[in-house]
Each structure stands twice: as C-alpha cells, then as structure tokens.
C-alpha cells in the first residue's frame, strides 16, 4: 500500500484549472482506493478478525537509512483504516467546497501534498517515517494559512507551526528513547514500529513514564487538549475554509491516532497509571473548552473551541479502560472528522458570503440563505450530540463506559452537553434567526450587496458531509465493528495485563 507514492507534485501545472482538476482527480482516485479498501471490511471480515498488531496491506520493509534502522514499512489496521478513509474523503470535499475560490494554482496541489503526508502518518509503521510525515503535514498547512488566510494570518501561521513543532520535537526525544531501547547495539536498533512498541519492556519504570509523558505532550498538543490548545483557534480563524476543514477533520485526529498507536500501545502500564491525568485533561478540555466556546463572539473561533471540547471526549474514552470506551473514542475521532469539516465549511461559507464571522452582526440570514442555514442547523445539531448523528454514537459509548469506571464523575461531561447546546443554539439564534422581519435579514455593516445562498459546490460538499453524518449515526456499524474489535484486542492484549499488574480494577 503505497498511497503516498502516488502523489505527483502537480504544482508545476501552470494553469490553475488544470491543476485543480488534476488534484481533484487524484484526490478522488485516492478516495476510491481507500473506499475500496474500506469496503473490503464490509464484504469480507478480514478487518474484524485481525489480531492486535497485525496489519492488512502490509508491505515487506524496504530499508531507507540502514545505519539507524529506518525502513519504508506501511500497513493499515482497524485503527488507521477509518482515518485513511476519512483523509481521502475530507480532502476532495475540501477541494470541492473551495472549488470556485480564486486561489491560484498552488492551492490544490498543496492540499494534495497535505493529503499525502496525512495518509503517510496513518499508514507508516516505521516511527521515523511516521515522524517525518507528521512534521511534513505542517509545511503545506503553514502555507495554506499563510497565503490564503485571514487578516492576522502571519501570527496564526507562525504560532501554529512553532507551537506544534515544539511539542513534536519533545515527542521526538521520547521516540528516540524508545529507539534506543530496541536493541543493545546500533545494528540491532530499528525504528520499525512493531519492534519499537515492544521496547517499553526494557526500560525502567520511571523512564517509561517519562517517555509516555513526552509522547503525550506531542500528541496532546496536536489533538489539542487543554492547556496546550491555544494554537488551534488562531489557526482555524485565519485558515482558509479548506485548510480549516482538513485541520479539524484530519490533523487533530493525528494526535489521537498517535496517542493510541504509539503511547498506549507501547506503554500500557503508564497509560493505566496515568488515567487520572487523562481524565483530568479530557475533562478540562471538554468542560473548559465548552465554557470558552460560550464566551466567543467569532463563529469560527467558537467552532474551533468546540473541537477542543469534543476532542476531550477521546481522552475520557481511553481513560475508561473499557473496550466500549476506547471504541467510543475511536468513533469520536471518526465522527468528529466528518462533523467538524461540515462546521468549518459552514463557517467558511459565512465568511465568504457575508464577509464577517461575528456572531450577532447579522440576523435572520435564513431568509437569504436557506441552504446555508439548513446546513448550519444540521452541523450544529450533529456537533452538540443529537441522536441519529454520528457524534452521538461516540458520545453515548464513551459515557456508558465512563460511568462504569468513574461513576458520578460522569456528571461533568454530561452537564457539559448542556453547555454545548447553549452556545450552539445561541449562536444559531443570533445568526440565522431573529431578524424581526418576515422577509429580510439584518445584514452586517460590512456587506454592501445582496447576499446569495451558497454555491452549488459548497452545497454539494456540505450535503455529502451531512448525509454521512446521518448515515453513520443510524448505521454506525460500518466502522464501529472494526473499531470495537480493535479496542477489544488492545484491551485483552495490553491493557488488561497492565491493569492487573498496576492493581487497577476495571
């Protein structure tokens, strides 16, 4: 499975449109391939019966830098497959949503590079390559924000880059320590993930905790979790719509993915020991993020903080140490990956058509943009965890598991759901409703022309996202089953043992 290999640099195309079409074509081809890969999970049950640590579509490692044991080794399992599919889905959709925007011919190739790097993160089974891809995602995103961003884009781009870079270099130390423990001599050491994940055994306990902690810093910043989240709102607010969609839809998931793939898998003991920390981080992100959301007046900023809030659930799900909770966390990654692009597409369309994102500077725009209002309603509702939408499945799974483990603490996430509803409804009330006129909306001062509804491509993108949200809400088992299976495997193979040795009761 060499998806990233298939990414030609189309940047050389001088004609914008050709570049755009080719990129779309490549992206769609990728989508088709990954859908086909995902579809095999429905037709034959290979994905569900994979044992933990086994991968489908695995290649035999090709040595890259033999001196330090780097090789090209890729594969996918139930953890990464939904993410790969998600990446392949969100990128063409983000292109679709920004189809008409005057972006220049570098824009779409950059998105494609982004896609390649992200898929690379999800498929690579070599931590060195993983890290390289991990950082490679920064560069196109940096340019997306910098070139096509909003007013304050420089600050945001710099902050985005430096903040996440700092965190990931700390993570790099952790990776290197793991690398060191893969063998006693240089020639034995390797970056191969499957070997590295065993390396925890040869470390002292304190070192294991430290490495786990370093990894956590890297992954939690990407997710992002409170208190290292502040790069996200700035990046989102300034990023172009497609950038926001990818950022929220896929890049944040890289954090959670990495945490599960590396930190949890390599150091189940530390994960078990530090569950209180995970709970604290998750709760803080969830509750605090929601409160901050409520205090925002910028639509995109609010949505960005809501991402912070929702990603908190992932930590909570993992901290439950229940297969159900972990599966819930996985599904949250996936669900949020569909919902948040929708949210950002809506926010982007607002910016595009109304030239402002201030909540309250316009009222009653449902008069002028019924489709936009409808998508906003759908997205907001999906995000606040309305049943029959994908987000609810994850939420309810995490909460069920959470009660089993932590009892009444569940009131914190549960009550946060109310807060979530408050800010979403308030923002809706103040934007699409309340014009006080049965036929006209109140327009923002900065708008000097009659606003129109969203364009067909924006609409198409949002409809697809909305439809998927509902589809996976009603029929979650397409991906749920393999996630559930994976969670069970990770529990039985790793965490149960760790819990027993740490004396933690389920």
């Amino acid at each position: 499975m060499a998806l990233p290999h298939m990414l030609p640099e189309n940047a050389s195309e001088q004609v914008k449109r050709i570049s755009r079409n080719i990129c779309m074509g490549v992206a769609l081809a990728l989508l088709a391939i990954s859908t086909w890969a995902a579809a095999t999970s429905f037709s034959d049950l290979a994905w569900k019966s994979l044992d933990f640590g086994d991968f489908e579509l695995k290649n035999s490692p090709v040595s890259l830098i033999p001196q330090i044991g780097v090789s090209w080794h890729v594969g996918a399992d139930a953890l990464s497959l939904p993410m790969i599919w998600l990446t392949a889905l969100v990128v063409p959709l983000s292109m679709l949503v920004e189809w008409d925007a005057k972006k220049g011919h570098y824009f779409h190739p950059l998105l494609l590079v982004m896609e390649g790097a992200m898929i690379g993160v999800f498929v690579s089974l070599d931590l060195f390559v993983f890290y390289v891809f991990w950082e490679m995602t920064l560069i196109p995103m940096f340019f997306l924000i910098l070139v096509w961003g909003g007013e304050d884009r420089r600050y945001a781009a710099m902050k985005f880059f430096i903040y996440t870079f700092t965190a990931s270099v700390l993570m790099l130390i952790g990776i290197l320590v793991m690398y060191f423990n893969t063998g006693s001599s240089l020639s034995e050491r390797t970056f191969d993930m499957l070997v590295m994940l065993e390396s925890g055994d040869s470390m002292t306990e304190g070192l294991r905790h430290l490495v786990w902690f370093l990894l956590l810093i890297g992954f939690a910043t990407k997710m992002p979790s409170v208190p290292v989240h502040t790069w996200l709102p700035d990046a989102h607010v300034q990023a172009p719509t497609a950038g926001s969609m990818i950022l929220a839809g896929v890049m944040l998931k890289m954090g959670a993915y990495g945490f599960l793939r590396v930190a949890v898998t390599a150091f189940p003991g530390s994960t078990v020991v530090f569950t209180p920390l995970l709970v604290a981080l998750g709760m803080a992100s969830l509750a605090y993020g929601a409160w901050v959301c409520m205090g925002q007046s910028n639509l995109k900023r609010m949505v960005a903080y809501s991402s912070v809030s929702h990603m908190g659930l992932i930590f909570l799900g993992i901290a439950t140490m229940q297969p159900l909770g972990i599966a819930g966390a996985l599904f949250m990654m996936f669900a949020h990956g569909i919902i948040s692009p929708l949210l950002f597409a809506v926010a982007g369309a607002f910016k595009h058509h109304y030239h402002t994102l201030e909540i309250g500077s316009m009222r009653g725009i449902a008069h002028h943009s019924p489709w936009l209002a409808g998508h906003m309603m759908l997205g907001w509702m999906a995000s606040l965890g309305l049943p029959l939408m994908a987000g609810f499945v994850a939420e309810v799974a995490v909460l069920i598991a959470f009660w089993m483990t932590f009892g009444w603490w569940v009131m914190v996430p549960a009550l946060t759901l109310i807060i979530t509803a408050v800010y979403y409804l308030t923002s809706m009330q103040r934007t699409i409703f309340e014009s006080n006129d049965p036929h006209e909306g109140q327009m923002p001062d900065t708008l000097h022309h009659e606003p129109r509804d969203i364009t067909w491509h924006e609409n198409a993108g949002m409809i697809i996202l909305g439809a998927l949200t509902i589809l996976f809400g009603i029929l979650p088992f397409f991906f749920w089953d393999m996630m559930s299976h994976w969670s069970t495997e990770v529990m039985t193979d790793l965490l149960t043992e760790a819990m027993q040795s740490e004396g933690v009761r389920p």
């Binding site: 502040t230 205090g295 297969p323 449902a366 069920i400 959470f402 009550l415 309340e434 006080n436």
Partner: protein, 767 residues
C-alpha cells in the same frame, strides 16, 4: 384558495397510501413485521418534502396540488395510522399471530446498532453485547401509538387548512411539513422502541423537531428565543435522563426492555440505591419533557409556534413522552412482579411534583389572556394530574397493593388518552378561532398600510367574545373539549380524573400520610380547572363582541372543521365507552386482560362503572368524589361565569345548547375583579410566579459571566502565557543582542573572561 369541493380532490393521492396496509395483509405479512413502516413512512417523506420544497419553491403544482408538501405528509401519516391501527386491532382481537413472550409483550428486533465487549471486574471480557433497534409492543405502547398516529394524521389534515391559507407561511410550508413528519417519526419511534437507548434517541429527535417548529417563525425574536428555551430546558432533563440510562446499563448490562423487565431485581441482588438514583435521573428527564415543575418554563413560551404544532407536540403527543417514561418504570417497582422493594420514595416524589405542578399551572392559568397560553397551562396542569396518578401508582406497586396500583395506573394512562384527544382538539379549535380572527382582521384592514396591524393580537381573549354565533362548530368543539378537561361527569376526562383523585386520597388516607399533599393539591386543582377552562370558553364565545373585528369572523377555511368534529365525538363519548370496555384494567394489566366485554353484559358493565364512579364503597372516597364533582362542575364554572359570563348579543344566533349555556352564564350576576387583578398575587401569577425571571437572572448572573471569564482566562492566561513567552523571548533577544556592543575590547574582555574561567576550572578540577 378555491372551492371546498375542489380542495378535497387533493385527497386522491391518499388512496394508494390507504391501500398499502390491506395489500400487505393480503400478501401474508404480519402486522408486527411491518411495524417499521410506521417509522419509515414519515422518515422517508421528510427529505422528500424538504428537498423538493427547496427545489420547487413557488411552483404552482407544488403549492396548490401538493399543498407545499402537506399532501405528501398526510399520505405518509396515513400509512403510519393504518399500520398502527392494524397492529392495534390485531392486538385487541387477541390475534395469536402476534407472538407474545412470557409476559405477554411483543418484541421484535431489527438490527444491531452497536456491539461491543465489556471488561468485567475480574479482568475477563463479557460476551459480546449489543445495542440493537427493534419494536416492543404492549398495551401502553398501543394506546400511545394510536393516539400519536391518529392525532398526527388529524392535525396534519388541520394544518392543510390552517397553515396553507396564511400568507405569511407562503413558500415556507414545506419546512413545516417536513419537520412535522420528522417529529411524527420521532414520536412513533419512541413509542415503539424496544430499549431505553432508542427511546432516548427518538426522544431527542422530538426535542429537535419541537425546537424547529417552535422556531418556525424564526424571524420573530420571541419565537427564536422560545425555541432555544424549549430545547435547552428539555436538554437539561435529557442529560439527566441519559445519566439515568448509563446507570441502568451499568446495573443490567443492557438497555433492552425485554432483558431489564425480565427480572429488574436480578434475583434480588440489585443495588436498590443505585437503581433509585437511576430512576430519579430518568424522572428528571421526564419532568423536562413533560414540562413539570421546576422545568416547566419552556411550555408556555413554546406557544410561539404555529397552532397545529402546539396542538400536536405541546399538548397531545411529545409532552406525553415523559409520562410514558414514568409508566415504563412500573416493572422496577412492582414487587408483585420482580420489582425491587424500597423504591416508594420515587412514587412520593413523582406524586409531589405532579401535585405542585398541577396547582401552580392552574393558578397561573387564572390570569392568562392569551387563549393558547391558557391551554398551555392547562396542559401542564393536566399532565401533572397524570404524574400524580403515576406516582401514586408507583407507590402502591412498591407496597404490593397491586390492585389499587393497577387501577390508578390504568386511570392515569386513560387520562393521558382523554387529555390528548381533548387537548389536541382544543388547540385546533383555538387555532381555528385565531385563524379566523386574524383573517377577519386582515380583511378589515386590507386597504391600510397596516398601521395598527401589530397592535391587534388575534390570540388575546380580551379582543374576542360572542364568537359562539360566528363559529358554531368551533364553539361546540371547544365546549366539549373544555368539559372533558374540567371533568364534567360522564364526559371524557371525568372517568380518568376521578380515578386519579380518588386513589390519591385513598393512598393518603389509608396508607401514607405524606400523600396528603398531592391529594389536596389535585382536589383543589379540579375546582380551579373548572374555573379557568370555563373562563376561557366564556371569554371567547359568550358575551358580546369586544372588538369590531369579531363582527367579520366567518368559519370558512377548509380542512379545519373535520378534525374538530371527529375529536369532539371521541372526547364526548370515548371516555365513557372505553371505560365500559375496561380500558383502565387493560392498560395496566395487559397480560391477563383483554379489552372488551369479558364475562359481563354491557348493561352490567355500565352500571358497574357508574357505581364505581359515583358511589364507591369507601365512604371517604365517596366524599372525595363528590367534592371533586362539586368543585369542578359548580364552584369553578360559576365563579368564571360571574366574572366573564354573559349572553350573546341580540340577534346573534347559535346552536341552542350553546346559546343556552352562554345565556346561563350571564345569570350568575357579575363580579368586579379589577381590584383582585391588581393584587400582588395576581401580578405574581401574571409573571408566571417569577420562575422565568429568576431563571434568567440566575443564568445571566452565573453562566454568562462565567463564560466571559473562561474566554478571558483562555485569552489572557492560557494563551497569555504563550504570548508572554513569546514577547519575553523577543525582549530577551533584544537584551542579549545588546551584549554584542560592537566594541572589540568588550569582545576581548568576554573572551578573556571565558578563557580565564576555563583555565581556572581546569586548574580547579585537576590535581
């Protein structure tokens, strides 16, 4: 709008919908097998209506032949109604094709929603657990299902007249119908769901639709606000409900009714404290949905929605969801079955909440002038009756008094039925009034620029009066509805309300002194109901017109009268008829009681029912029963008549019974209540006892500052640290660059110092 005959041609598309069920029956399907149609039909029509509405907005065929989606909605609802009826009939006939499990309920599973494993406390994995989707049918389900499908259909019918003739709704009705059918889907799904999770899921869908429909006139600030308020208030309850589900899942390892109800005590090992809290959490959810104290504030505001919405969602169906949920708690507490002892506090709490809400809502209804608001408070109050009844029933069940429990449970459920029918109709009738008054007003001011357009409120009863002669059907329907709600003997709600009041008193007198509170409250409320319902009717229909507009009112809109007529009949006769058929016992004890005349003749049954209602054996209950009748039939209406009564204006003709009542109401003299209406109590009631006020205040004093604080904290502290690091780095950078002075001698000095220190260090560490 076209002629009436022309209008009803639109019903042609309904014929195929009507045929679906017979075809399926002939094809050999069983009714339960096709139960999914009930949910599926509205679900499918939802996107069809919404999207074609967007695409064909303004198109002539769409507008006139399809009523902007209304006809599609109606067809879908007809499919649901026929399918539901089929199931009901099958079930009542005791058709044995419906396979029943041991406890006499029918369950069918559709698909596995999510499946997963659970790590048990001995570190082993459970076998794979599944949360699936399916149907669960017992008599309560059937009753509610029938009520829901029937009312949905009728109110959709009504909407064709009510919504499509209002110019303000033009080109927007598809949204109404789409949300309407989505709501219907939610309601049907909730009733049919075979586990608590799916019950909750559909419950939330209803909440969404309620939100959408209240906010139908989204441009009105009040409507947008009311919608948000409704959603959030119920959301508070829902979150607790969800927590309740989590606890239940933890206890039973499943949320399926069939698993939980099989043995709620798990062989007596269940932790009753935990279960108690789970049920309390569920009850909080029910309180939110059914607008009970203290989460009642949303319901009156919800009247901002179009009247059919008020009729359907906020009177007849959705608000009953809470009751349904409480009714589902019976197996937990039924120690005659496998219930868990020691949960009687739950019954008390439910009964108290019910009593308090009943009284409070009735008293607030005294001073409302908006016709829909009166009905809203009345709804709240009547639902509270049912809660009280259910609370008492739970209490009885938990003390093993199964017979009494059964009666009051059945009575409560029956009241739910009666109330839904009557209140649905009352709302439609009020809608009819509002519609025609509004229409007349528009007609009157056609030439104006609409100067006083906004001053006139077509819902304000102070602008009405004397409408009995203008709107014969509506006034009659409203009269019957009011009587049913008041509990005038022999009519509708009397049969069920009597049972609730009596059993509450029985519980308080014979067993539990603490039940005295709810008992007194419901008794008083009976009289108050008599007052405010009469007041409403009298203000609207009796007396002389209080506004010139009234002169121009005609009862002319198509589609509106038929549902009123049908429901009038059901309200008037249904109560008596069904009690004779033994519905009370049937509802409560599905497993050993079939609906219908069992071993007795009709006459015997009628006499038994009458005797039971008017001359119970227990002397205390006899007193209670007659007090109730006296209060609601005599005291309440007479006071209302003294304040608001009056004959029709001269020359106005109406149906004899109605004009007699109007005239009669004028005979009790009149009483000036101006002074009373200026009292502080009245003011408090006008302000809904300040609940909304204090809630608002509390929110604005806590939530909003806290949110602002959080945002500030995030910006200044969390991000501030980052920015501080950044600015300090730059500052440090400037400082450190200053060391590079540009003087070569300074450089040498630094280098020399460095050299000397290295020298000293080397010298120091060595030797």
């Amino acid at each position: 709008m076209g002629g009436t005959g022309n209008e009803y041609r639109l019903l042609m598309p309904l014929i195929p919908a009507l045929l679906i069920v017979p075809v399926l029956a002939l094809a050999g399907f069983e009714s339960v097998e096709v139960a999914f149609l009930i949910v599926l039909a509205p679900l499918v029509s939802f996107p069809i209506i919404l999207i074609s509405g967007q695409l064909y907005n303004g198109n002539k065929t769409w507008k006139h032949s399809l009523k902007e989606g209304g006809v599609i909605a109606l067809s879908a609802l007809l499919v649901s109604l026929t399918t539901a009826s089929w199931i009901v009939i099958d079930y009542i006939r005791g058709a044995r094709e419906i396979t029943k499990d041991a406890s006499g309920r029918t369950a069918a599973s559709w698909w596995d929603w999510i499946s997963f494993d659970v790590l048990l406390s001995d570190y082993s994995l459970s076998s794979e657990r599944v949360i699936g989707v399916g149907v669960w049918i017992d008599s309560v389900t059937l009753m509610l299902l029938f009520v829901a499908t029937f009312l949905c259909f009728l109110i959709c019918w009504f909407s064709l007249g009510y919504m499509n003739t209002d110019p303000i709704n033009e080109n927007r009705n598809h949204r109404f119908y789409a949300e309407f059918v989505l709501f219907a889907m939610g309601m049907f799904g909730m009733v049919l769901a075979d586990n608590f999770l799916w019950l909750f899921i559909f419950w939330e869908i209803m909440g969404l639709c309620s939100y959408l429909l209240i906010g139908f006139y989204f441009w009105k600030e009040s409507a947008a606000y009311a919608a948000k308020k409704a959603f959030l208030t119920t959301r508070v309850g829902d979150v607790f409900l969800m927590v309740g589900l989590l606890i239940l899942y933890d206890i039973y390892g499943s949320l399926e009714f069939s698993v939980i109800f099989e043995d709620p005590s798990i062989g007596g090992t269940v932790d009753s404290d935990k279960l108690f809290w789970a049920l309390i959490m569920l009850f909080i959810g029910a309180v939110g949905k059914s607008a009970q104290f203290p989460l009642h504030v949303w319901l009156p505001d919800a009247m901002e929605g179009p009247t059919p919405v008020s009729a359907l969602i906020h009177a007849a169906t959705m608000v009953n969801a809470g009751l349904y949920l409480v009714a589902r708690m019976v197996p937990f507490v039924d120690i005659g079955g496998n219930g868990v002892a020691g949960l009687d506090d739950l019954g008390l709490i439910v009964a108290y909440i019910g009593g308090i809400t009943a009284f409070m809502a009735a008293s607030i209804a005294f001073v409302q002038n908006d016709i829909k608001k009166v009905l809203a408070y009345s709804t709240m109050s009547q639902l509270a009756y049912i809660f009280t009844g259910l609370g008492v029933s739970l209490w009885f069940y938990n003390h093993g008094k199964t017979d009494a429990a059964t009666l009051v449970f059945g009575g409560s459920m029956f009241h739910l039925f009666n109330h839904a029918m009557a209140k649905g109709m009352l709302f439609m009738a009020s809608g009819s009034v509002i519609h025609e008054v509004h229409h007349a007003h528009d007609h009157l001011h056609e030439g104006d620029d609409g100067h006083d357009h906004h001053d006139f409120d077509p819902q304000d009863m102070r602008n009405m009066g004397g409408l009995a002669s203008k709107m014969p059907v509506t006034s009659a329907a409203m009269l019957i509805g009011s009587m049913s709600i008041i509990g005038i003997p022999l009519i509708g709600g009397f049969w069920s309300k009597e049972a609730i009041v009596a059993k509450t008193w029985k519980a308080s007198l014979d067993y539990e002194p603490l039940m005295m509170g709810p008992a007194i409250l419901v008794l008083l409320t009976a009289g108050m109901t008599g007052f405010y319902m009469s007041r409403m009717w009298l203000m609207t229909f009796a007396g002389e017109p209080k506004h010139q507009v009234i002169e121009h009112v005609h009862e002319s809109t198509p589609w509106i009268k038929e549902p009123l007529l049908i429901l009038s009949v059901i309200s008037a006769l249904g109560g008596f008829g069904l009690s004779v058929l033994g519905i009370v016992k049937w509802l409560a004890k599905p497993y050993n009681y079939d609906l219908g005349i069992n071993e007795q003749s009709v006459i015997e049954q009628v006499i038994y029912e009458l005797e039971h209602a008017f001359l119970p054996d227990d002397p205390n209950l006899r007193i209670v029963g007659w007090t109730t009748i006296f209060l609601s039939l005599v005291i309440g209406p007479i006071f209302a008549a003294r304040v608001h009564g009056g004959g029709l204006a001269d020359g106005q003709r109406a149906n004899p019974l109605i004009s007699w009542i109007a005239t009669l109401s004028g005979k009790f003299g009149s009483q000036d209540v101006t002074e009373m209406s200026q009292s502080s109590l009245s003011e408090a009631l006008q302000n809904r006892l300040y609940f909304d006020h204090y809630y608002e205040l509390a929110l604005s004093k806590t939530v909003i500052p806290l949110a602002a604080l959080a945002a500030w904290f995030d910006k200044r502290v969390v991000d501030g640290i980052i920015r501080r690091v950044e600015s300090n780095s730059v500052l440090g950078s400037v400082q450190i660059r200053r060391i590079t002075t540009g003087r070569a001698s300074d450089y040498i000095l630094m280098a020399a110092i460095g050299a000397l220190s290295i020298f000293a260090l080397a010298w120091g560490v060595s030797g």
